[in-house]
Symmetry: C2
Subunit: 181 residues, 2 copies
Amino acid sequence: MVTVRRPQRADARRNFDALLAAARSSFAENGTDASLEEIARRAGVGIGTLYRNFPTRRDLFEAVYVEEVNQLAEVAAAVAALPPWEALTAWLDRFVSYAVTKRAIIEALNRESEMFATCRRTMYDAGEPLLERAQKEGVVRSDLSFDDLLRMVSGLTSGAYVDDAQRSRVVSFALDGLRVR
Amino acid sequence: MVTVRRPQRADARRNFDALLAAARSSFAENGTDASLEEIARRAGVGIGTLYRNFPTRRDLFEAVYVEEVNQLAEVAAAVAALPPWEALTAWLDRFVSYAVTKRAIIEALNRESEMFATCRRTMYDAGEPLLERAQKEGVVRSDLSFDDLLRMVSGLTSGAYVDDAQRSRVVSFALDGLRVR
DNA sequence: TGCAAAACGGAGGCCCCCCTCCACTAATCT
DNA sequence: AGATTAGTGGAGGGGGGCCTCCGTTTTGCA
């Protein structure tokens, strides 16, 4: 579990959280080049406050990214009790909710950074056992790597669809290609 | 086949084509909010010339988009002689080459525009018969629409992959979910 | 070859964003 | 309650993109 340092004082913590939430939604809407001033405005906070908490745009990316990765790890623990295929797809479902933001941020982030490596590890530790279990029980084809799977799902869900029904139909067809039948 | 009006004079035509090429690559690299001045610079042309040919950003989108759709239609004719599954995947291969640019533009374009409808029709006329043939011959599941297929492939290929091998592995797994086995 | 019309291209006004700096505010501690 | 100090927020300079306008250049035609 990776950590992000939050400020000490109550008002500062409030602003910190507001900024993080504003950044997440703003990045999701406008991509990684969303205006920082707009994010500060959304958070109801001065631009100076944003810069004190996150000196660079990159720091904001990292903070948002870390939060989402941590949530993914929690979900993985929660679904572990389900049967292998269901556990895997339930986790992917949750993965999808964050895929749009994540994808943009990951692309903007330098893949070589230590922080990125740590988060990647956290996410893999959370999700990879789900895939391995499904493969061991012969439910999923064995020549599929966890990395393949994540990229597939994240690509599939980052596009625009007519409605949610189409999105889930398309995703389930694609996942069907991974099953052993 | 949709058409884009090109200027009459030779120098103007040269500039028009240079702008179109610059726009395509710039949109592919930087998304739909690429700088117009950068595009003009890339094309070796004044900003005024860009605006004379394409009064709005949208006009540029449309011109780039139309060109790519026309190319897709040509490819569809070229692959018609192959067996059903091969014809379909060959066409999709080509579809992939343009998917990145296309996806960004499509999202920026107003879906209600007449131009969009015409292009959509052109593309459907080109590709849909390939899918229908594969379905009639029992090679592809019948509850898949052409729209489903395009969105799936365009999503799958818009993401970042480690290398081309991973991309094609992932795409082929997903397509495998569409086959009748 | 000479000329009219078409096309060029970039300066300039406007706006928004980035980021720094510092006078002010309020949370916490005693 | 008062002192201390972490925290605030926005003004402002610099930069770059958007778009218009118009003096200059190029082309095609006679």
